[in-house]
C-alpha cells in the first residue's frame, strides 16, 4: 500500500507515545530529556507530513523554527542539569525530593 498522510501521522503518534513512555517510566534525568526530544521530533514529523500533503510550505518553516528552539532548549536544559549535578551529585529524579512534604 502506498504510504499516505495517515501512515506518517500514525508513525508520529507512536513516536510521541514512545517519548512519553521515556518521560514517565525512566528515572534518569538524561533519558527523560531524550524522551522530550523524541516527542518534539514526533510533532515535527506530523508537521512535515501535513505540509507535504496539503502542499503548504508554512509547516516546514514551523519545523525549522521548532528545531532551532529545541537546540536552544537543549543547551539551557543541559546547563541546568550540570548545575544541579554540581549541587546535589545526582541525575536521578528520586533523589530530588526537596518539594516533598
Amino acid at each position: 500500500m502506498t504510504p499516505g498522510l495517515h501512515h506518517y501521522l500514525i508513525v508520529s503518534a507512536l513516536l510521541f507515545s514512545l517519548g512519553l513512555l521515556g518521560v514517565v517510566a525512566r528515572r534518569n534525568l538524561f533519558v527523560i530529556f531524550m524522551g522530550l526530544e523524541l516527542m518534539l521530533n514526533a510533532a515535527n514529523l506530523a508537521l512535515v507530513a501535513f505540509s507535504r500533503y496539503h502542499n503548504n510550505l508554512n509547516g516546514q518553516v514551523m519545523v525549522f523554527f521548532i528545531i532551532t528552539v529545541a537546540a536552544a532548549e537543549v543547551a539551557v536544559g543541559l546547563a541546568l542539569l550540570v548545575a544541579l549535578y554540581r549541587k546535589r551529585q545526582t541525575a536521578h529524579v528520586e533523589d530530588l525530593t526537596s518539594l516533598k512534604l
Binding site: 508513525v11 526530544e37 516546514q60 546547563a79
Partner: protein
C-alpha cells in the same frame, strides 16, 4: 519506481520506532550513553522520512543540528558527569508498567482518531519551484521577523547556558 519508495517508507518507519523504543527502554543496557546513541539513529531515520516527504532542507538540518550538534552536547555532558552510581539502581517495575499503560492508552487514542478522521486517499500536490528554493523564499520574505527573533533567542540561550553552569556567580 513508486514501489521502491513505499518500501523505503516502511523500512524507515519501522527502524524509527524500533530505535525510539531502544532509546527509552533498552532491555540490555540502562546507560544514558546507549540511549543517546539510539536517539542519534532515530533522528537519522527521521531525516530519511523527511527526504521521502520531499523536505530535503529539513532533512539536512535534522542531521546537522540534531544528530550533529544537539547529540554531541548531550554526550559531552553525560561524559563530563560521572553517572556510574545511577546505573546500578533497580528499575521501578511499577513505573514502567503504569507508564507503558498510559503511553499505550495515548497511542491508541491518537491512532484511533487519525484512522477515523484522516481520509485515506490524499493527493500530493506538485510545487512549481524546487522545495528548498520555495522554503528559503518563504523564510526570508514572509517569516523574516520570527527568523530574526530566533537568532536573538539563540544568543540568549547561549549566554544563559554559560551563566547557569558558572561555578560561582559573582
Amino acid at each position: 519506481m513508486p514501489q521502491f519508495t513505499d518500501l523505503f517508507f516502511y523500512a524507515l518507519a519501522g527502524l524509527t520506532l524500533l530505535f525510539g523504543f531502544l532509546t527509552v527502554l533498552n532491555p540490555l543496557s540502562r546507560s544514558p550513553v546507549t540511549s543517546a546513541m539510539f536517539l542519534v539513529l532515530t533522528i537519522l531515520c527521521m531525516a530519511g522520512l523527511f527526504v521521502l516527504l520531499h523536505a530535503f532542507f529539513l532533512a539536512a538540518v535534522q542531521v546537522l543540528v540534531y544528530a550533529g550538534a544537539v547529540m554531541v552536547v548531550f554526550l559531552f555532558v553525560i561524559m563530563l558527569l560521572d553517572l556510574k552510581a545511577d546505573e546500578r539502581r533497580h528499575i521501578n517495575k511499577i513505573a514502567v508498567g503504569l507508564g507503558g499503560l498510559s503511553a499505550l492508552a495515548i497511542a491508541g487514542t491518537l491512532v484511533a482518531s487519525i484512522v477515523k478522521t484522516v481520509p485515506v486517499s490524499q493527493t500530493v500536490g506538485r510545487l512549481a519551484e524546487g522545495e528548498t528554493k520555495a522554503l528559503g523564499r518563504l523564510l526570508f520574505e514572509s517569516h523574516i521577523l520570527p527568523f530574526e527573533i530566533l537568532s536573538v533567542l539563540l544568543l540568549v540561550a547561549m549566554v544563559g547556558a554559560i551563566l547557569i553552569t558558572k561555578k560561582d556567580l559573582r
